[in-house]
């Protein structure tokens, strides 16, 4: 009896891997051989961003420092936590601040969500900046990756803007005056400063119009833009032949 059960249990994983349900989702068995290791990458929308095989240099933690991936993960966490906050948040002068207060006092795990969103936002800005430094100091921008670097600079700017627009949303003294200072800086654009500032704020001062504008930029337009450009960023990494790596010794001589 017991031994029959034991044997059946031992066969269970294989049976699950062979079952119609498993196969309908994953299509291939466990990736412990070359064929399945290729298929697992090609059959999954998430894994197919990766090549089936990577250079050993790419796997060296001291090369990438994991910073690009960390930036991506922080962004995903921001989408998740931001999405949860968006269920409750209302971008009006009367309600925004009250909502944040309630988050801290009466919404279960509300403060945790807000904290996570805010700290992830700061960490993402830092991680993206450090990622740029890593790419620069390893020469990862060189041909044929020139354009991906240019794209990266745009990603950096969008990340700044995302964090900046989010900063206004709690509508407290900190955010109000930070955005006042920040948009004043934009107002110094030569020849059309006043226009630039009015375009950002929807008014001449930081008020309800600005809050709505920043909210829409923050939760819809800028994240959408970042997602699209990140798609291009990753696609380019593949098209540029994976990550940069030192040339083999014999080619350096040439």
């Amino acid at each position: 009896m017991i031994s029959r059960l034991r044997q059946q249990l031992r066969q269970l994983p294989e049976q699950v891997l062979q079952s119609n349900i498993w196969r309908s989702i994953f299509r291939q068995g466990y990736p412990d051989n070359d064929e399945n290791r290729s298929l697992v990458v090609m059959n999954s929308v998430f894994l197919h961003f990766h090549p089936v095989k990577v250079k050993t240099n790419t796997l060296r933690p001291a090369y990438t420092l994991g910073l690009g991936i960390m930036s991506l993960f922080l962004f995903l966490i921001l989408i998740f936590t931001g999405g949860v906050l968006t269920f409750l948040y209302l971008p009006t002068i009367e309600q925004a601040y009250v909502f944040i207060q309630e988050l801290h006092t009466s919404v279960p795990f509300g403060a945790l969500m807000r904290n996570a969103h805010r700290w992830a936002a700061h960490l993402m800005v830092l991680a993206v900046f450090l990622h740029m430094m890593r790419v620069f100091y390893t020469g990862g921008y060189k041909h044929p990756r020139e354009f991906n670097w240019v794209l990266g600079v745009i990603l950096l700017v969008i990340t700044f803007l995302l964090s900046f627009t989010g900063y206004l949303l709690p509508w407290d003294q900190l955010s109000f005056w930070a955005i006042t200072v920040g948009t004043n800086i934009a107002g110094y654009t030569p020849f059309m400063g006043a226009e630039v500032r009015a375009f950002l704020l929807g008014s001449t001062t930081v008020g309800g119009e600005a809050l709505l504008r920043f909210y829409v930029l923050h939760v819809v337009l800028l994240p959408a833009l970042l997602i699209i450009l990140l798609g291009v960023h990753f696609w380019r990494i593949r098209k540029d032949g994976g990550l940069s790596a030192p040339l083999p010794a014999e080619e350096v001589e040439k």
Binding site: S175, V181, A245, P246, L247
Partner: protein, 246 residues
């Protein structure tokens, strides 16, 4: 390699369809040697990083509460009123020159410089090597040693002596000409510092990029931790309550 090893599930086949393409692989300049399957080697790292980042964030979010001040009040100016930390470097620059120059022209020029880097450095021989070379490492260090004290000096100069108290009229001179001359001299000086190394194009770029990064961090730190009431210099422990903008 026999089919059993390569594709154990294809029991009924004893042949494989293999085509040799007459062109290079997408791995530019690299054959399949020196590679490993992404599963598991790459995915393990990614999974670990994801867990690490999430765990760190969770701990941080439990321990530290995000700040929330009084409700926004347009009639009650915060003092000091600070931008978010990653823009504080610009706000710091604003104290030293015409705001159009500090807030718009300099950052635009910096972005243009960053974007032009790959088009200036076309040499592939040192790709993938941290800091390009031993020389590049020394250049990074010397660029830092050169930039930090000069920036700190300039910040102190503008607090205690002030360009504008020496010459305030017309705005063109203290707001534009003097700052542009100072930035030009700083850049030229940086080149003079690294020239003895006989740097190639990439190594010159290493010097200037390092100059930019160090400036970014020095100005950010100065403005975040050393500017109190009225954005005057002070020490971090004398900051008015709530002067930290994160």
């Amino acid at each position: 390699m026999n089919t059993q090893e390569f594709a154990p599930q294809q029991q009924d086949k004893d042949y494989g369809l293999v085509e040799v393409m007459g062109r290079s692989t997408p791995m530019v300049n690299k054959g399949p040697e020196g590679t490993l399957p992404s599963w598991p080697y790459l995915f393990v790292w990614e999974a670990l990083l994801f867990l690490g980042v999430s765990a760190m964030l969770l701990v941080m979010s439990i321990l530290i509460d995000a700040p929330l001040r009084e409700a926004a009040n347009p009639n009650l100016t915060e003092n000091p009123a600070k931008a978010p930390w990653y823009f504080l470097n610009l706000q710091e620059l604003l104290l030293h020159m015409n705001p159009s120059l500090a807030g718009v022209i300099v950052p635009t020029a910096v972005l243009a410089f960053l974007m032009s880097i790959p088009y200036l450095d076309r040499n592939l021989s040192d790709i993938g090597i941290w800091f390009a070379s031993r020389k590049g490492k020394l250049i990074t260090i010397w660029s830092t040693i050169y930039t930090v004290p000069l920036l700190v000096g300039l910040i102190l100069f503008d607090q205690y002596i002030r360009v504008r108290s020496l010459i305030s009229e017309p705005e063109l001179i203290p707001g534009w000409l003097i700052p542009m001359a100072v930035m030009g001299l700083l850049s030229a000086g940086l080149y003079a510092v690294v020239r003895p190394f006989r740097p190639n194009t990439r190594e010159v770029l290493v010097a200037y990029f390092t100059g930019f990064v160090v400036t970014f961090f020095v100005l950010t730190i100065a403005s975040t931790f050393f500017r109190g009431l009225g954005m005057n210099l002070t020490l971090p422990w004398n900051l008015p309550p709530g002067a930290l903008s994160f």
